[in-house]
């Protein structure tokens, strides 16, 4: 497949937990706020001088210290974050916002607060279901976070300021989505590896500083005209995935990743936030409305249907359901989801992986076999 030479700019942004654009913004007096879960609304962390940075642990070599505190049966994403935090990698953040989304994330928060005591930290209690009362609850949760941020950082995270942040967020999401839509074409104009570099970079960089790079990438991707030969169109679903080498390995076997429905992916994350009505309520509605994670108790059928529809929309030949080992929600849901998708005639490969890149040979073999099983 043809690769866009300028993609190395995005690789550079993904090589460090706090990249050069973050440093540039901090030099300008802005404050990065870390977060750990896609149920933390980025828009709220974009108030005033604040900007959101999704916590990652790029290049992590081991989690020896975190293993001591969190045990060896905990998801390696949360342990990698703890390991990096203990090494001081996030010390320059203005604060961290967690969610009580899953057992592992909650215990990361407990251990991080115990061992490192961030200057500002907050845990959002995201309901496990949708509907009126849950929406009211979560809107109040966001209000409490907004008030706490106002008090701590001296920023306004309400009213017109927040409405402006929503508009700005939507405009940026449109720019990324336009790139993502290039994957729908036959042949696609970008690879999955390229798109997800852009996508993950958008989660870890100040969006205004990243936007020129995104627009430049879009322009050049269109000019390039296709990614060259591939064997099958693949959709990737599942949990947290910010290691691009995982997608690169899939694509190295001819499986072009054309669609995503995973935690750090673009669908449904880039759907617009409503620009009318109470901004906090709109953000709450957008966050709870995402059909994404099995931590939401009542949405299995919707999640399964969303995967099928997305696969159809992007003409995916098969779906890879991936999850980090020890993830309870995706671990249990994976078995049900795999059966349900297969019953609906969708080819599925279920993969368990670690947060850090590894077992490449096994991954290649499984992907090769999957593509061959689809007759591609």
């Amino acid at each position: 497949m043809n690769k866009y030479a300028g993609i190395s700019l995005f690789d550079d942004l993904l090589a460090e937990p706090l990249n050069r654009l973050v440093e540039q913004a901090m030099d300008e007096g802005r404050v990065p706020v870390g977060y750990t879960c896609s149920y933390v609304p980025e828009t709220l962390l974009s108030a005033g001088k604040l900007f959101p940075v999704r916590l990652r642990a790029p290049g992590i070599a081991g989690t020896e210290l975190a293993d001591t505190y969190m045990s060896n049966v905990i998801c390696s994403y949360t342990k990698s974050l703890l390991e990096f935090a203990l090494g001081g990698a996030y010390d320059r953040l203005g604060g961290v916002v967690f969610t009580a989304n899953c057992d592992h994330m909650r215990r990361l928060m407990d251990n991080l607060e115990y061992l490192r005591k961030p200057a500002f930290s907050h845990t959002l209690d995201v309901p496990h279901k949708r509907g009126g009362p849950a929406l009211e609850w979560f809107t109040e949760e966001l209000k409490m976070l907004a008030d706490k941020m106002s008090g701590h950082f001296g920023v306004s995270a309400s009213g017109a300021d927040l409405a402006a942040a929503i508009r700005s967020r939507n405009a940026f999401a449109d720019a990324i989505r336009a790139i993502g839509d290039l994957r729908k074409q036959e042949p696609p104009l970008i690879t999955g590896g390229e798109f997800h570099r852009v996508m993950i970079a958008s989660l870890v960089s100040p969006k205004d500083l990243l936007l020129p790079l995104v627009e430049d990438f879009h322009r050049k991707a269109v000019e390039r005209g296709g990614v060259g030969p591939y064997r099958a169109r693949i959709m990737v679903a599942g949990g947290e995935l910010d290691d691009l080498s995982f997608i690169d390995v899939i694509e190295s076997q001819g499986g072009l990743v054309v669609a995503d429905r995973f935690c750090t992916g673009s669908l449904p994350a880039l759907d617009p936030v409503s620009e009318t009505g109470d901004p906090l309520r709109a953000i709450a509605q957008h966050t709870l409305g995402k059909v994404l994670c099995p931590r939401m108790m009542e949405e299995f059928d919707e999640r399964e249907e969303a995967i099928r529809k997305t696969a159809h929309e992007y003409s995916a030949d098969g779906v890879i359901v991936q999850a980090i080992k020890f993830c309870d929600t995706w671990g249990v849901e994976g078995s049900t989801l795999t059966s349900a998708l297969r019953s609906a005639g969708v080819p599925v490969l279920r993969l368990e992986r670690e947060y850090r890149h590894g077992s490449e040979g096994q991954l290649r073999t499984r992907v090769q076999a999957f593509i061959e099983s689809m007759g591609k």
């Binding site: 001591t68 899953c102 909650r106 215990r107 990361l108 209690d125 929600t329 671990g331 049900t336």
Partner: protein
């Protein structure tokens, strides 16, 4: 070594409770009818395991004497009798039958005239009766694609469902407690049963009025949903009676806690923790459960007043944190004999919010909500770490303890990720801590021998004692030189 031998009176009482158990089994046959019962036994092979209850009673009674021994016998006969009542209701499977997740206490559904089957009941009871009972169900779950690292208690329940051995229900009530694995597993149960389901959402931080009101609202929505989807109708007067009965039982339990705070303890181990586990989770508000607690409290008082210790050679007092070691039901009896360790209380028993204000429907729902949110296990697996760690020290001091045992169930990731914080807190406070690494339901992960060895190491290296002066200790030998670690195999072969 405990040199006290059971008296003739002890044996007579044992025979009495044995007859009680046989009578309960006979009642099951009579109430179901022999043909139906045979069909049930074919469809639900675990019914055969329930027949081993007298053996469990024998294991718990052995090496104990007096009222402590009798309390254990009473406990098993009580559980069998109540289980038979639940079974008869369940096996009928009329349209009032619903499936409840274990963390959804049944008071409300019972008040609605519904017949509740706690889905996880078998996953608690069967490993207690047969230490290998979980294995086939766990394997079934894993063969269906449930990852091996998921809690074995969850996997066993799902294995029963997937094997078609869970009584089928068209209506289910579950929640996001106690852990992600259990919560997510209910989708499998729902699909297998093609059932309608209501899921209760319990907030993360629940020690505030906002959470109490939100959750009371959830309970109201659950009632409305059950009225819509079952023949059940809310009877607030019935709920008041159930709550008041539950309060009476809780008051007796509080009395019991006061008495076992004394050193040496007049009552311990199974009558305290297993009695609570059954009475408060499977059948709260049942007068029979209250009577059981009355009798246990009465036996305890008699021991206290006459200066009789439950464990004659009590040297150390322990709390057990996390659910009890299900497949090793004789562990505490062994610990009593080997080291004079008295298990005074456990984390699943101690409740900081035991009583319900029955003045209005709203007060009842709010307090039932608090019991669910702030009850044992729930308050340790939701909320921040201090819910878990501070509780340990609160109980340590309240019950005048010498050591903390944590049942470090490998599948409970929630608590595994707190163990180092707990170690450091215990070290700072000078509290001896043993974390037993094992699996709750599956002894293939850590055998009984492995568990005993961990305890031996702790007692020798931290508490600086050998087994009652025996030196060197032999991790395989129990009372009277029996090879303790193979006792359960002997029971199996006798059967």
């Amino acid at each position: 070594m405990n040199n006290i031998r059971p008296s003739a009176a002890d044996y007579l009482k044992h025979a009495k409770y044995f007859i009680h158990i046989l009578f309960s089994f006979t009642m099951l046959a009579a109430r179901r009818g022999p043909i139906s019962l045979l069909r049930d036994m074919r469809r639900y092979p675990w019914l055969f395991i329930l027949l081993r209850a007298p053996l469990l009673m024998g294991r718990l009674a052995a090496g104990r004497t007096g009222l402590y021994r009798e309390a254990n016998e009473l406990l098993i006969s009580f559980i069998v009798k109540q289980m038979i009542d639940v079974l008869v209701r369940t096996l009928k499977r009329d349209d009032t039958f619903i499936l409840h997740q274990e963390m959804v206490p049944p008071e409300i559904s019972t008040a609605m005239g519904l017949s509740v089957w706690p889905a996880e009941l078998l996953s608690i009871l069967l490993p207690l009766l047969d230490s290998h009972a979980a294995e086939a169900y766990i394997d079934r779950s894993e063969n269906e694609g449930i990852p091996p690292d998921i809690c074995s208690h969850v996997k066993m329940t799902l294995g029963i469902v997937l094997s078609g051995e869970m009584p089928p229900a068209s209506v289910i009530v579950s929640s996001n407690l106690p852990c992600d694995g259990n919560m997510t597993g209910y989708e499998i149960t729902r699909r297998k049963n093609n059932a309608k389901i209501f899921r209760l959402d319990i907030p993360f931080n629940f020690y505030n009025n906002r959470a109490v009101e939100y959750f009371a609202g959830e309970l109201k929505r659950m009632i409305a949903w059950l009225e819509e989807n079952t023949p059940g109708r809310m009877d607030w007067e019935r709920l008041r009676q159930i709550c008041e009965e539950r309060n009476r039982m809780a008051e007796k339990e509080i009395e019991l806690w006061e008495m076992i705070s004394a050193r040496p303890a007049p009552m311990a181990a199974e009558p305290v923790y297993l009695g609570h586990l059954w009475a408060f989770n499977a059948d709260p508000g049942n007068p029979a459960a209250t009577r059981f607690f009355h009798r246990i409290a009465d036996m305890t008082r008699r021991n206290l007043e006459s200066g009789v210790r439950a464990v004659p050679n009590e040297r150390f007092r322990a709390v057990l944190w996390n659910p009890p070691l299900l497949h090793f039901s004789e562990l505490f009896r062994w610990a009593e004999e080997a080291y004079g360790i008295t298990l005074v209380i456990d984390s699943m028993t101690y409740n900081s919010q035991p009583l319900i204000d029955t003045s209005t429907p709203d007060t009842m729902l709010r307090d039932l909500g608090k019991i669910i949110m702030q009850g044992p296990m729930a308050r340790h697996t939701r909320g921040p770490a201090e819910n878990y760690i501070d509780d340990i020290f609160r109980i340590y001091h309240r019950f005048n303890l010498d050591m903390v045992w944590v049942a470090g169930h490998i599948g409970c990731k929630n608590t595994m990720a707190l163990n180092q914080m707990l170690r450091e807190a215990c070290r700072e406070k000078g509290v001896p801590l043993l974390i037993i690494e094992y699996d709750l339901s599956d002894q293939r992960i850590c055998s009984h021998e492995g568990i005993i060895r961990q305890i031996d190491h702790f007692m020798q290296n931290v508490m600086k004692v050998n087994r009652n002066g025996e030196d060197p200790p032999d991790p395989r030998r129990g009372r009277e030189g029996k090879d303790f670690t193979t006792i359960h195999y002997a029971y199996r072969s006798e059967e």
